[in-house]
């Protein structure tokens, strides 16, 4: 073993190389942090979150400067400080006394203590001739040392980031994209716009900021907020402006800077708004979600989370929204899990169909005592019923007993249907950051289930009717229904259907056509025959007398001179030949919370004979699926069918 290194000759190279190496590394790090700038993107200044900002606006400390901008009014600032803060009050009082000639330093005067404090602070001076005067500069500095003063100073430094709202109120700019070149010349470039499936603009860009004129709350979670969530965050690379680096850059000229890419969504804007409004019930607004998918392509036509805020107002209310116990910022379409209740019977039925010995006629009991399961509304049936009837009448005991018999096998089917597997929403776009819907869960509790054991059979029975440890969300359940409508093939849902390069920064119009993006990946879930059986069952739910959805609203198709109009009405209120038969499953999911009505579910598709749209609606704490969720779902499907029939050039915009 060599004990020491012989470095004679060039040994002095070692320290030199080490020191030079360290310096080079440090210079590289400095280059990374300053020029190539990996951290700056996460930086948005939020003035409206700042304490006191409201006061600045209400008291007009920040006002219109008469040139379309905002000005910090220091006169009013001092007026405000003089009425609302102790220091200011003291100074005001001292000024009054000096002006009126009243002696402030009298022994008897109650003001004497404050006067002395002012003198100690250096705000009041007494000159050689014994004359007192107020040092404006000292007062100014004192005032700026308070939190209020500091905040106002910050706001005054940043007036260029404020704008006047339509109502004349001062607002902080909602999005501020700066492009700074080596000479620190700054320009603001527009982000790309987002359009709906009929090329109506959802969010655009006007006068240097995001334009939310046409965005309804129904698209809030889809569009999202820059750098926070939704498409604005996930598709940031596409939507960000594309500055043209060139010589003109040195002068801050625009050159061939491009707007960000425009996106065309498969979302229908007006439909989203209608659905958002559909959650207004006579007793008040309910929380919930509705998702509409196009059958055959898997495109999302609407995904509405019912208490989303208005996109135009999020900025002003961000704090409130974050603290709101109703969690309006939560996307209920795919970020919140619910018990699917009876709608889960679809999966159990599919599992049964895969094992033929399960399907034969079967006599059910009112109460399955040993399983502790009761039927909800349907009466005892004297004669054996088959799968289709049990599905249509939503018999709990039937599916509970079948579920126990199926045991482990249901889990396999459920996992093929997408349980325990997250859904990737933007898989069809190359440069998107991943946007993953929460994975629905089934049979994934803390305990391991022995499906044969008696005590655990009760648990399995509850699972089979979509309770206890089965959870899902609206997007996934819509996907399940679409799978059945698509002959047993799952198509991964997508929401972006087209994309085009943005216009030049100075161009008004972008005339390029949208390049269409591929639809989601497909995978076979169940056999075609089984899917046909399930479609019969779903049809029976809606169209066989006694089915849980039979009595509710239905879709009707009217041909007027304006064209074809889809409307909804209760059964038999409109001529029978106008009926568009739909198919689906209602669900009433108990959540175990006392004294609150159950979650209301509906999943389905329409038309029943030639499916075009699939839907899933969940309404929190509402009641029966057929009374709360179903009308919304019918509206959704009618609107979606209408939307599919309308070619882009006839859309009203």
């Amino acid at each position: 073993m060599k004990k020491s290194v012989d470095l004679s000759g060039y040994y002095w190279m070692i320290p030199v190389a080490a020191v030079v190496g360290v310096t080079v590394v440090l210079m590289g790090g400095a280059f990374r942090n300053s020029v190539s700038d990996p951290y700056a993107k996460s930086y948005i200044e939020d003035f409206e979150h700042q304490q006191n900002f409201k006061i600045f606006c209400e008291e007009s400390l920040l006002t219109d400067d008469g040139a379309g901008g905002v000005r910090a009014d220091w006169e009013r600032f001092y007026a405000y400080v003089k009425t609302n803060y102790n220091l200011g009050r003291m100074v005001a009082e001292a000024e009054r006394r000096l002006a009126t000639g009243e002696s402030p330093a009298d022994e008897s005067s109650p003001f004497k203590g404050q006067w002395n404090r002012l003198r100690a602070m250096g705000v009041v001076h007494i000159d050689d001739r014994g004359k007192a005067y107020i040092d404006g500069e000292a007062f100014h500095k004192r005032a700026l040392k308070t939190t209020f003063g500091r905040h106002f100073l910050t706001a005054a430094h940043n007036v260029h980031r404020f704008r006047l709202g339509e109502d004349g109120q001062v607002r902080a700019d909602d999005f501020y994209f700066r492009e700074t070149n080596v000479f620190s010349v700054t320009r603001v470039l527009p982000r790309g716009s987002i359009y709906d499936r009929h090329d109506r603009e959802i969010v655009g860009w006007s006068r240097g900021r995001r334009d939310y004129q046409n965005a309804s709350p129904g698209v809030f979670h889809i569009v999202g907020l820059p750098n926070r969530f939704g498409l604005e965050a996930r598709m940031d690379e596409a939507l960000s402006p594309k500055p043209d680096r060139g010589l003109h850059d040195m002068l801050g000229l625009y050159g061939r800077d491009r707007r960000g890419d425009d996106l065309q969504l498969s979302i229908d804007g007006p439909l989203s708004e209608t659905l958002y409004n559909a959650f207004d019930f006579p007793k008040g607004r309910k929380a919930g979600a509705a998702v509409v998918l196009e059958v055959g392509t898997g495109r999302i036509l609407a995904a509405v989370s019912s208490n989303a805020p208005n996109p135009a107002e999020w900025r002003a209310k961000m704090d409130e929204l974050m603290r709101d116990p109703d969690r309006p910022l939560l996307n209920r379409c795919w970020d919140e899990l619910y018990f699917p209740g009876s709608t889960y019977k679809t999966v159990v039925a599919a599992s049964m169909l895969e094992h033929k010995e399960m399907v034969g006629p079967f006599r059910v009991r009112e109460k399955a005592e040993f399983l502790k399961i009761r039927n909800n509304r349907n009466k005892v049936r004297k004669h054996p019923i088959d799968l289709i009837s049990a599905y249509a009448y939503s018999s709990n005991t039937y599916f509970a007993e079948k579920g126990v018999l199926l045991g482990q096998r249901t889990k396999e089917t459920a996992e093929r249907f997408g349980f325990n597997r997250p859904i990737e929403l933007l898989a069809n776009v190359e440069d998107a950051k991943p946007w993953t819907a929460v994975a629905p869960v089934a049979y994934r509790g803390g305990q391991r289930f022995r499906f044969r054991k008696r005590g655990d059979q009760r648990l399995v029975a509850q699972f089979s009717i979509g309770q206890n440890q089965i959870k899902s969300h609206a997007l996934h359940m819509a996907g399940v229904m679409a799978t059945i409508a698509q002959d047993g093939v799952w198509i991964n849902p997508t929401m972006i259907q087209g994309r085009r390069e943005g216009a030049l920064a100075r161009e008004e119009e972008n005339t390029r056509p949208f390049e269409s993006l591929p639809t989601g990946k497909t995978r076979r879930i169940i056999a075609t025959d089984d899917a046909t059986k399930l479609r019969q069952a779903a049809w029976a739910t809606m169209n066989r007398s006694g089915g849980t959805g039979y009595a509710g609203e239905q879709i009707y198709r009217e041909e007027t001179e304006a064209g074809i109009v889809y409307v909804i009405a209760r059964r038999n209120q409109l001529p029978r030949e106008q009926l568009v038969p739909s198919a689906g499953k209602t669900g009433t999911a108990e959540h175990g919370q006392k004294k609150k009505p159950a979650h209301s579910w509906y999943i389905g598709y329409a038309p029943a004979d030639n499916p075009k749209v699939a839907v899933a609606v969940v309404v929190e704490y509402a009641g029966y699926g057929s009374t709360y969720a179903m009308p919304i779902a019918m509206k959704a499907m009618a609107g979606a069918l209408q939307s599919l029939e309308t070619p882009p050039e006839q859309a009203d915009f």
């Binding site: 020491s4 290194v5 002095w12 030079v20 310096t23 590394v25 942090n33 300053s34 930086y43 040195m250």
Partner: protein
């Protein structure tokens, strides 16, 4: 028409001519475009600070590159002339930056606080801006005074090196420019800047004391005789903070308060400790080089641990890091034992890992987490990163960055401010300055290694303390390394730090001056000289490559040419002992 046809034919047949002309035309157009752009930028008033900043920083960069060149290749100018010119140039640049650009930045940054329209009723009688500018002029003059003092003392007592002093003045001026504008408001920042300026002058006096031969010799002989007293003083200074210390920030008692002045003892202790280690290593060098027995390392380990444990109890991790690295460096320099170094490195890595896993001391854990994920753990680091990001290549002009958002920007995070306001170019100038300082230190240590190995090791240690401290705090600022509370030498706000670092400069020069003397007249005129090259450049031979074995100057040297050379008339210092010649 035929001429045109001829022209075309020529263009088609003579391919090279056509392309060459096209390229030439392109270059011409581009140059014209650049000129036009420059003129337009000059005309735009809002670009003034940016333009000025670019010009000033380019000058600065050129200066530092010239100096780096000088450190390796002696130029035509004499050492003295070079030094004076450099100092004057840096001082002039400092003046432009301070008196022209800082007020410009303030005017842009604080139009509401300091502008005319809004504050008429509160202004009183004087114009604030004018007053502040006068303050800046005073800072400039006082800074110049400090530099002049340093220069004259050095000239008087130890004129051995023309690189280090201008570099240090460059660094100090950079720090001053930053400090006069970094504070939260004009009055506070003025106080910060003024404090630093005063301590610069005080530091130059300390420098004088340490460099003057009588004091220097007494001090060194005392230290040589009683190294253990030095060690005890070192430990006592640090340990005393438990009893008499005050906490200025972070709840740790790291300072002594002497009336209005606060003093951070670790700054002094670092230097003393390096001396003790150097002495020890030189005494035992033969042991380390030969034997592989652990016992020869025990006393060194105990020495180091005694200090580190005290520092650990104080939760002052930055100096520990610096001292560990410097001690290891010195050890390897003296013994050449890379295997022991690796063992020690592994051991230290193990200890740090253990501290991280057990979270004791918890500071290690927090600092490492801040480093790993600054955006979610440390708001200070986050603001620092954002501030650095605003810097870009040339920096925002002075006063236009958001540096005031970073807590303790004036000491720990001053590099962030420099990166933000002077950009990558300015930061590189700073890093290159430290590099040049260190390399020069190596050269001096190499020169000393023949005369006195102990002094050489000590000098190496001193230089490495500066370099390592700089590297650690800069890397911490850049999020390349966990941050620990250290000052950037010569630049950060902090009186004791600046004074002690100037003292270090004095020590370095003094150590070299111990082994040099003034050349006699005959030597200066080239009679009976063994080192003719000394006349025009630094007296110290640099790297082996630079020492001419067969000097052409030596051959052509004659009485007439020697007297004709103006530089030879000046007094020159030459080594007293034989230097390392190849």
């Amino acid at each position: 028409m035929s001429a045109f046809r001829d022209f075309l034919a020529h263009q088609i047949t003579e391919r090279g001519g056509r392309w060459g002309r096209a390229v030439f035309l392109g270059i011409t157009l581009y140059v014209l475009w650049e000129v036009l752009r420059f003129v337009l930028l000059m005309l735009a008033p809002e670009n003034q600070p940016f333009l000025l900043r670019t010009v000033v920083q380019t000058c600065e960069l050129l200066l530092i590159l010239a100096l780096l060149h000088r450190a390796f290749r002696p130029g035509k100018t004499s050492a003295d002339t070079f030094e004076r010119r450099y100092l004057l140039a840096v001082w002039a640049l400092f003046g432009v930056w301070l008196i022209v650009m800082v007020p410009m930045g303030f005017a842009i940054r604080d139009p509401y606080l300091y502008g005319q329209p809004n504050l008429q009723s509160f202004h009183g009688t004087f114009s604030h801006v004018g007053q502040f500018r006068w303050f800046l002029v005073v800072v400039w003059l006082t800074g110049g005074l400090g530099a002049a003092l340093l220069y004259s003392f050095k000239k008087r007592w130890a004129d051995v090196d023309e690189i280090m002093l201008p570099l240090v003045c460059h660094l100090v001026f950079t720090g001053l420019v930053m400090l006069v504008r970094l504070g939260p408001d004009r009055m506070k920042t003025a106080a910060l800047g003024w404090n630093q300026t005063l301590f610069f002058v005080i530091g130059s006096l300390v420098f004088a004391v340490l460099i003057c031969p009588p004091f220097r010799e007494r001090l060194m002989s005392f230290a040589e005789r009683y190294p253990y007293i030095i060690l005890m003083v070192t430990l006592a200074l640090i340990a005393g903070t438990f009893l008499f210390g005050t906490a200025l920030s972070g709840g740790r008692k790291l300072w002594y308060r002497l009336g209005p002045v606060t003093l951070q003892p670790i700054e002094i202790s670092k230097i003393l400790f390096v001396f003790v280690v150097a002495t020890f290593l030189e005494k035992k060098a033969h042991l380390f080089q030969k034997s592989n027995r652990i016992s020869s390392l025990v006393s060194l380990g105990a020495l180091c641990l005694s200090l580190f444990v005290i520092l650990l109890l104080q939760k002052d991790l930055g100096p520990i890091m610096v001292l560990v690295m410097v001690c290891m460096w010195m050890f390897v320099t003296v013994s050449g034992r890379l295997d022991i170094l690796m063992g020690a490195g592994l051991g230290i890595g193990g200890i740090v890992t253990l501290a991280f896993l057990t979270r004791w001391p918890s500071m290690v854990y927090h600092r490492i987490m801040d480093f790993v994920d600054p955006l979610s753990y440390s708001s200070q680091m986050t603001y620092a990163l954002w501030t650095q990001a605003s810097g870009d290549l040339w920096g925002t002009a002075p006063g236009l960055s958001k540096a005031f958002k970073v807590p303790v920007i004036e000491s720990d995070y001053i590099f962030t401010a420099i990166l933000a306001e002077k950009g990558w170019i300015g930061a590189s100038v700073l890093l290159l300055a430290f590099l040049a300082l260190t390399l020069r230190g190596f050269q001096l240590a190499r020169f000393l290694s023949v005369a006195s190995r102990r002094d050489a090791t000590y000098l190496m240690g001193l230089v490495m303390v500066l370099f390592v401290q700089q590297a650690v705090i800069v890397a911490g600022n850049l999020n390349l390394f966990p941050l620990s509370g250290l000052t950037l030498p010569f630049v950060s706000a902090g009186g004791s730090s600046l004074v002690v670092n100037l003292g270090v400069l004095g020590l370095v020069m003094g150590l070299v001056a111990r082994h040099t003397r003034k050349a006699t007249v005959e030597e200066r005129h080239g009679v009976a000289t063994s080192q003719p090259a000394q006349a025009t450049s630094s007296p110290i031979p640099l790297f082996p490559s630079e020492i001419p074995t067969e000097s052409p100057a030596l051959k052509s040297m004659s009485f007439t040419s020697a007297t004709a050379d103006p530089h030879l008339k000046r007094e020159t210092w030459i080594p007293t002992s034989p230097t390392r010649m190849p």
